[in-house]
């Protein structure tokens, strides 16, 4: 179904009777060309690009719960391509370009809102690091601007310039960064993939892999055996759980990341703001809620909920930088499970088992990567070769010492 303002108008006149489901609810077929495990953002995007770009349509996406129930439905909706390292930045910039054409691409308004992402710095050495990063961004074709205190005062006069414990000295700004209505991304990709014939099978949980002679031939699920010669795991958050069923140990720990939203407020924030001296980042949704977050809770967890210290830590960060939000109220807090990798960077790769592919390790940066992750994974599945922007996301990179560590924290996943 093609969506447009005209369609809404006509439907409105005729009692909104003509709307159709965005996707079918098919039962699994016995065999597919490709099975994608995980009906979250990345899985659905992979299916979308496989069916729309690489012309592979006999594809199933199997999802343990409801479509979009993973981290695509529980993040802070930020998109940006402000990375430092050459292994990362081209990939995220590729993602950004896909975001920019997304709505036209899948005829669904996910409300890509490019109102800028601002990383505030508080010291000279932080500035030096941001200058290096901003230059790396520009050299990779992205946009970046260094703002000084004066610029910031104009753009964000509500920041605590006078009384801050850590003085606000400027920011690295990416004007093209912003936020997207997260659920709609899953729905849009699902709609687009479904239209090409991809089967999205909800409430279908993988219980095991069929592996013979080092080759993966299909999956066992609660809806029966489904066969395929290409099985693509795409279940960030549950990666270790799922891959352990194939006997694969991953350089990943699962951690809970909390996010928060305030009651709806009339517009106050110009874009995404990230505090450089505490754990806090914030944007404002189209509904008016301040959407904010901070650090992961810091211990291995598969519970989609967090604990108090982080809530307080994040709000302390918020009040330290913008004390005008003190009387806004936190409405809801929730947690998502992150695949925290050993260097903070993801994996899109084959595995030692032929026919079994892996996409995961997104840490808390998976949302912004959704389009590129889907595209590059589809590329790998369709062509057998990594996409040029994702060549370094190798599952065994640590064995030879390739480390993509943006934060310089080493093999301590809870610090990334």
């Amino acid at each position: 179904m093609k969506y447009s303002g005209l369609k809404i108008f006509l439907e409105g006149l005729t009692g909104n009777k003509g709307w159709k489901p965005l996707w079918r609810n098919p039962e699994p077929k016995p065999k597919y060309d490709i099975i994608i495990i995980g009906g979250g953002g990345h899985g659905l995007a992979t299916a979308y690009y496989l069916s729309n770009t690489f012309n592979i349509k006999n594809v199933a996406v199997i999802e343990k719960g409801w479509l979009g129930s993973g981290n695509i439905g529980r993040n802070t909706t930020i998109i940006r391509s402000n990375y430092l390292l050459p292994e990362n930045e081209p990939f995220y910039e590729f993602s950004m370009k896909l975001w920019e054409n997304l709505e036209k691409d899948f005829n669904y308004n996910a409300m890509v809102s490019q109102r800028g992402v601002m990383n505030i710095f508080h010291s000279d050495s932080q500035r030096d690091a941001f200058v290096r990063r901003g230059n790396a961004m520009i050299m990779s074709g992205a946009d970046a601007v260094i703002l000084d205190e004066k610029d910031l005062k104009k753009m964000t006069p509500f920041l605590d310039f006078d009384n801050a414990r850590f003085p606000i000295k400027g920011a690295l700004w990416q004007p093209r960064g912003g936020s997207v209505r997260h659920d709609a991304v899953a729905w849009g990709y699902a709609k687009g993939a479904d239209a090409k014939g991809v089967d999205i099978i909800q409430n279908c949980e993988v219980t095991g892999f069929i592996i013979k002679n080092g080759r993966c031939l299909g999956v066992e699920t609660n809806k029966g055996t489904i066969k395929s010669t290409k099985i693509a795991s795409c279940v960030a958050g549950s990666s270790s759980k799922v891959m352990s069923k194939a006997g694969i140990k991953l350089p990943i720990e699962s951690h809970v990341l909390q996010a928060f939203v305030s009651e709806g407020l009339k517009p106050v924030l110009p874009g995404v703001i990230t505090f450089g001296a505490g754990h806090f980042y914030v944007s404002q949704s189209n509904k008016g809620g301040l959407v904010f977050g901070g650090d992961i809770d810091g211990y291995n967890s598969y519970a989609q909920r967090g604990n108090l210290p982080v809530v307080e830590d994040v709000c302390e960060g918020g009040m330290a930088i913008m004390p005008m939000i003190g009387r806004a109220r936190l409405l809801r807090m929730w947690g998502g499970i992150m695949d925290m990798s050993m260097d903070g960077s993801p994996f899109i790769d084959k595995t030692d088992i032929k026919g079994l592919f892996f996409n995961g390790g997104w840490c808390y940066g998976g949302f912004k990567a959704t389009p590129a992750s889907g595209y590059c994974y589809a590329h790998l599945l369709a062509t057998g070769k990594p996409h040029k922007t994702a060549e370094s996301f190798l599952l065994k990179r640590f064995e030879k010492g390739l480390i993509i560590d943006e934060k310089g924290q080493g093999n301590q996943p809870n610090l990334h």
Partner: protein, 113 residues
Amino acid sequence: MKKAKATNPICIRELRIMIIKHPLLGPRDSSEFVYKGDASLLDRPKWNGQKSEKKFYEYGYLRKNPAGSHRELWYHEQGDRSWLVVTRNTISHEIEKVELARDIARKKKAKAK
């Protein structure tokens, strides 16, 4: 947690109030602690042993990450500075056991000899 314990209500109470029940100091708020990760970090390979490169790679990068009972290292930084091995369920967050890491490390060394 084992079922057998659940029948004794007193026992449940003791378990539940535990924040992290330090073997020497009793229950303490986890905010006094710092988390490190999988207790296999105690099993540092021999530097000059066979296949030490591979072993160190696995030691450094491939850790257990179960959904369920997990043995993990916590450090009582704002307390007596001891490293603990906490056995905790990663789904319910319930803590089953807390031991001094040093005791475990010693036993391992003794065994290795």
